[in-house]
């Protein structure tokens, strides 16, 4: 080679090297996450990046897929709302297909939920999200034991158990979907968070079920009540947080017990605050827990309906989110013919109807979590006169962008130690005794009559639910069903934290199934529940004290009592009702206080426009009225004015105030109560009227500064809305705010100024003709934000409308007009 050529080669090599370096820098830059952004190169790729989301927005009109795991052929028709109707010949294929369609529409939500339930959020979110400590949230979930309970539950499930095939087949269906779509077909959230899902496992379904159970039954109220009792005195707690509250219409009118005092450990306040902080962090991170989770359900027998057959209504109040908690589907075959809503990630139908019966849930709110103060020294704890070794379990939490964190969960005979702030407390929860609820759900799906349905409920342990039932044979029923622990000490033991060392406060059994509150075809010919107390003073067992204030139950009761021929339209009107019973009870007191003077007749000296608006009001919390805004601001201020001063003086301003029905009780029965006095003004003794007027004044000044001086232009919907945040909290994927009526106490509930909880599923079941049943949930079937089914049901929901159910009994029954797309799954 001549020198000139060599020189040319060197120059080419140098330029080539430079271009390689440039290329490597470019490729590495585009393959590396930039802050919160995933690698931009992968996102831009038309073959697997975000563009695939657009391609996958809708299901193909016809799709046929083959899988080796199937027994035969499964037909899935999706109707115009994207609701799948699944027809299969075997139980395996039915649940395989259900897992497949759930994954098609909601895979990311399923993955997120299992990560929440298994304490694995740090792996995709990193150690912190804003100020939230994600690792601590994961550690908390591991400490309360959801993943380990799910693991042991599946390990104890044998092929002979009714839930075995559905759980296993469902997981196979999800995994078949994952194999079928590969990485390119994954949902937008996977791409934004830059990860992919691992295979689905039956434990994942069980973990999600356990998380839902924790959401509805897990409570640290024991610790909070004890902290309040320590700060305010036991008489104050007994007065303001009674086991059975005033003005309640029990679910089942039978009696309870009132118990005695409890001893409190010095560290109870610190422990209560630590536990509540962890709970708040979990709620803030996931949006899946929070206050005011409640529900309504009722059934009316044929003697009081227009069809001569029962009607049933249910609206569980859970978090309003995108994608929605629920997923609508019909399952037909292998003994199933059931329609209703499922939780993505869990097989079968949780709430819904068959051609014979319908059912729905509200939460009981029973006391099924007990805290035991433990005497711990090193690796041992003291129990029944002896030191015993703590059971230790190491949990490794993987952290995105960081090193794994190992947390050690220590357990005593009572359960895991969940806080050591101030005092070590171990937690006993009924989920340890009933971790697999699926058998009960399957029984409810396939029952042929009330007695079979009732038998299925034996397997339903936690969360305790008020289960409403109605069937075409004119049976209506309500059962407050679940495991209610009986403690060795009797009375209301368990209401406060207990000494864990003595061994004298142990659980010695559960309220027998046949003695749980139950009402079948009562003389009123209707049953109802709205999270109010399940029974009255005569009931022999303590089952809890954390009841709804009862205003929704009172309203439903009066609407049902006044309607002797309930139509579908009546049920709908009742479910959408926004009359605030508390307002109706309180406005006369406001009028009295504001109009009060020494020499009647009096005229209002303050806030005449606000008072006039209230006095002209029909107590309906409608979005286009001014009075609801005045009322609701007043109600919140009144609670602060009555109790906030004492709470602040006792150093517990961050703990819960009494429920609104306690204010009603004080105003009506004890208006000279010292609670009306403001302890911050020791030389003045405020009366109830002073307190009411002051609260009214604060409400008025709040609204005048927010909405201007002209009361006539105020609208409740200007300060109150429903929101539907996406699970990632990304605004672009969320929906709302939408101006909304209702409040925390109306049947159509919308708590807070920005309601992110509320009716999560509305069912109006017709037991005369099941095809006339209707339902709706806020959101849509698809988790793909570009799909028309991402939020089409939300439009109906916000308009107060429902959709009818397509209920084909066979493949041939599916009318062409009901078919939007067809999916055939065949055996290879």
């Amino acid at each position: 080679m001549d020198p000139e050529t060599k020189d040319l080669d060197r120059r080419v090599a140098a330029k080539g090297f430079a271009s390689v370096v440039l290329s490597v820098i470019f490729l590495v830059l585009l393959s590396t996450p930039l802050g919160i952004l995933p690698p931009i190169g992968g996102l831009a790729n038309p073959g697997g990046g975000i563009w695939a989301i657009a391609v996958d927005a809708e299901h193909p009109t016809f799709q046929e897929l083959t899988f080796s795991g199937l027994d035969g052929t499964v037909t899935v028709y999706r109707d115009p709302y994207g609701i799948p109707h699944v027809f299969a010949a075997t139980e395996h294929d039915l649940f395989f297909a259900q897992g497949f369609v759930h994954a098609q529409d909601r895979m990311w939500q399923m993955d997120f939920m299992r990560r929440v339930a298994r304490g694995e959020l740090s792996e995709i979110l990193g150690a912190k999200v804003g100020t939230l400590d994600v690792v601590e949230v994961d550690a908390f979930i591991r400490a309360i034991g959801l993943p380990s309970l799910a693991r042991s539950s599946w390990a104890n499930t044998t092929a002979a158990d009714t839930s075995y095939v559905p759980l296993r087949s469902y997981a196979e269906g999800v995994n078949a979907f994952l194999r079928n779509v590969g990485t390119p077909g994954l949902a937008l959230e996977f791409k934004l968070l830059n990860y992919g899902p691992r295979d689905w496992n039956p434990e994942d379904s069980l973990a999600i079920g356990l998380f839902m159970a924790w959401s509805l039954s897990g409570s640290f109220e024991d610790a909070e009540l004890a902290a309040l009792a320590q700060a305010l005195g036991m008489p104050a707690v007994d007065e303001l947080f009674p086991i059975l509250g005033p003005y309640q219409r029990p679910v089942d009118p039978r009696p309870g017990t009132r118990g005695g005092d409890a001893g409190f450990t010095p560290g109870i306040r610190e422990a209560a605050r630590d536990l509540l902080r962890k709970e708040d962090a979990l709620a803030a991170l996931t949006g899946l827990r929070g206050p005011w989770l409640g529900s309504n359900n009722w059934a009316v027998n044929g003697s009081r309906t227009d069809t001569n057959r029962p009607r049933l209504a249910n609206d569980p109040h859970l978090s309003l989110q995108m994608p929605a908690i629920w997923y609508e589907n019909q399952l037909v075959g292998a003994g199933f013919d059931v329609y209703g809503v499922s939780i993505p990630g869990i097989p079968a139908v949780i709430l819904g109807q068959t051609r014979h019966h319908a059912w729905g849930f509200t939460n009981v709110g029973a006391d099924v979590v007990d805290l035991y103060s433990e005497t711990v020294s090193g690796d041992d704890y003291f129990f029944e006169g002896a030191w015993r070794p703590l059971e230790r379990r190491a949990e490794v939490i993987r952290v995105k962008g960081g090193n794994p964190v190992t947390v050690t969960v220590s357990s005593t005979v009572h359960g895991p130690i969940i806080t050591t702030e101030g005092q070590a407390f171990a937690m006993r929860w009924t989920a340890r005794d009933a971790a697999n609820l699926l058998a009960a759900v399957l029984g409810m799906n396939t029952a042929a009559m009330w007695t079979e349905f009732r038998e299925a409920l034996r397997d339903w342990g936690v969360p305790a639910q008020n289960v409403v039932y109605a069937d075409e044979d004119r049976i209506i029923a309500m059962r407050s069903n679940g495991l209610y622990p009986i403690r060795a000490g009797g009375g209301d033991e368990g209401r406060f934290p207990m000494d864990g060392a003595s061994g004298t406060h142990e659980w010695v059994g559960f309220v027998p199934f046949d003695e749980q509150p139950e009402s079948v075809n009562p003389i009123e010919d209707f049953v109802l529940s709205a999270n109010q107390q399940p029974q009255d003073d005569a009931y022999p067992y303590y089952v809890g004290s954390s009841w709804d204030p009862g205003y929704r139950a009172r309203r439903i009761n009066e609407m049902l009592e006044n309607d002797t021929s309930v139509t579908a339209a009546d049920l709908q009107r009742m479910q959408l009702d926004t009359l605030d019973v508390m307002a109706r009870e309180f406005v006369p007191f406001i009028e009295d206080a504001v109009m009060y003077c020494a020499n009647p007749p009096c005229t209002p000296t303050v806030m005449p426009d606000e008072l006039a608006a209230l006095l002209a009001w029909d107590f309906r919390m409608d979005a286009d009225k001014a009075a609801p805004a005045i009322w609701w601001r007043f109600a919140n201020h009144l609670r602060e004015e009555i109790f906030g001063d004492e709470w602040e003086a006792a150093g517990v301003a961050d703990l819960s105030l009494p429920l609104p029905n306690m204010m009603e009780y004080l105003l009506k029965e004890d208006n000279a109560s010292a609670w009306f006095d403001d302890v911050r003004t020791p030389t003045i003794r405020e009366t109830w009227r002073d307190t009411v007027v002051r609260a009214f004044g604060f409400a008025s000044s709040d609204l005048r500064s927010e909405l201007g001086p002209d009361v006539a232009t105020w609208r409740w919907g200007d300060v109150h809305a429903r929101v539907f945040p996406h699970l990632t909290q990304l605004d672009a994927l969320s929906r709302g705010p939408f101006p909304s009526g209702g409040d925390s106490l109306t049947v159509n509930v919308a708590p807070g100024d920005l309601a992110s909880a509320g009716p999560s599923w509305r069912l109006l079941a017709d037991l005369h003709d099941p095809t006339e049943s209707k339902g709706v949930y806020p959101g849509g079937q698809s988790g793909n934000p570009l799909s028309r089914h991402y939020d089409d049901l939300l439009d109906l929901y916000l308009a107060g409308e429902y959709h009818g159910f397509a209920l084909p009994a066979t493949v041939a029954d599916m009318r062409p007009a009901w078919i939007e797309s067809t999916l055939i799954l065949r055996r290879t």
Partner: protein
Amino acid sequence: MEVHRQRHDWRTVLFATFLLAILFVYTGVWQLAFLAGYVGGFLGKRPRRDFGLAFLGAALAWGGHLLWFYLFAPAGALASLFVQILGLSGGLGFVVPILTLLIAGLTGGLGGLVGAYAGQLAYPPSPASSSSE
């Protein structure tokens, strides 16, 4: 004995990159657009020209997909949604396809550049076809 290989003309470089980039899209591995450009450049062996041709070939390949998405899927809504997720106005959605084409072009183009140099080193241009670059 030295092996010389004739340079291919611009059409070969462009089509090779274009066709390979189209095929590679279906693998889901975006970096393979670089390989598409590399092959084109290797055949062309004229770095500056081949950068441009590979840029164009890869951008056209991805652009063809995008055109399909815009015609038959809600790609416009997707672009708008994506910029909203980033906290920008949905009206800036047009930036997303432009950015996508730019990424495709640069990836393919850099591949073309490296490929051309590699081609020159592996198979030096025959004296008859040599020209300054």
